[in-house]
Symmetry: C2
Subunit: 206 residues, 2 copies
DNA sequence: GGGCAGGTCAACCGATCGGTTGATGTGACC
DNA sequence: GGTCACATCAACCGATCGGTTGACCTGCCC
């Protein structure tokens, strides 16, 4: 099994290399610390599975990188290996074509299993992640619209309704309507609480 | 040089072990994934330097662990090794008795240097961290009071002025006065913007 | 064609917020 | 003793926000 590592932390790359070194059926054929290097390296080394971090320091993030990797001719499997477990991160990664999603905090055996599962093209999720996804399925929750997210992002910047209206080329009345919907969906009743709730759920980033 | 690792990510612990394994003057005498195990292990193994992550999953965080480690009879040096680089994290760690502060994203050589520096009891800072600290020195910035931080935390929960007043046993007028000060210090003019600014500067956590 | 969800807008109200000025009391520091 | 930072409170104003009701249009699915 040929693996390619994408992570901006040298320590993590060394750790994966060390752990994988103990598995006879796995081999690391390359690594990269950012999206651009990763694309080049993956096209060249043609790994079976790419282990991808979501935060990559400067430049495009892991989600973008995943999307591009999945557009390569070989379509290598991408297993996201990251620290974060917000719904939005998970959904965005899967949506970008990731085959699985594993947390760095998971025990090594779980990671190895996930890599083997991903190599077969099957979906591999950390138990914690799987639990989270199932909870989402049982309770789909609010599901904000794209417009509402847009409003939230401006809200987080501290913009007033008037400013939001100007920015989005709509009237203040419309902004207020959207806000009422957002409050309802997030179960809050002030703009500030809406922002923190949205951040905690991974709907927006600061 | 006897090292002890404290990090909740098995991958990171493996990475540090692998990297340090290449340095003849270093030896890992123990590791732990949480504060309680760390305290026990460190008291037992008596390392020269403790590599400490700030986020440790459940239980007390790295700052608390650092404080307790520094209260042990041997007073081992603590080198904080983490992903985060907000001013508040750095200051809290140093304040808790950390000898140095290094980012996981740094190249291995930098890390080794920092470990050796810390072992001598001298302060070791990542260049990125050092730059940040110097900027803070040149431009001390706002420096919010404890009371103002308290207000900010309630603000982040979406509390209105009336609720903040009730919670802190002061009048609404006083809350407004504090808020005016906070706005001025953070360079914003709405409560929502104050919250995001405070989060970005690491003054409060969500 | 008939829903239905999403987006847009209007008018209105009371409550809250942002900003101001001015004041008092308390510690710390020199 | 003076001064300075911090925290506390009051009264006032205009602007903004939260909440409501009702309306129209579009695109989509059945």
């Amino acid at each position: 099994m040929r693996l390619f590592l994408v992570d901006d932390h040298p320590v993590v790359r060394a750790g994966l290399a060390a752990l994988v070194g103990g598995e006879p059926d796995m081999e690391i054929v390359g690594e990269a610390a950012n999206a651009a290097d990763a694309l080049r390296g993956i096209a060249l080394r043609r790994p079976d599975v790419v282990l991808m971090d979501l935060r990559l320091g400067d430049g495009p993030d892991g989600v973008e990188a995943t999307r591009k990797v999945r557009e390569l001719p070989d379509r290598p499997q991408v297993l996201v290996l990251t620290t974060y477990e917000t719904d939005a991160d998970i959904v965005r990664a899967i949506d970008a074509g990731a085959t699985g999603y594993v947390l760095k905090a998971c025990p090594p055996d779980e990671l190895f299993q996930a890599i083997r599962t991903a190599a077969r093209g099957e979906t591999a999720l950390s138990p914690k992640v799987a639990t989270r996804m199932l909870r989402r399925l049982r309770d789909p929750g609010p599901a904000l619209t794209a417009r509402e997210i847009e409003i939230l992002q401006l809200l987080a910047k501290g913009a007033g309704n008037k400013e939001i209206a100007r920015t989005l080329y709509i009237t203040e009345a419309t902004v207020k309507t959207h806000l009422v919907h957002v409050y309802g969906k997030l179960g809050v009743d002030t703009r500030t609480a809406a922002v923190t709730a949205a951040v905690e759920r991974g709907l927006i980033r600061l």
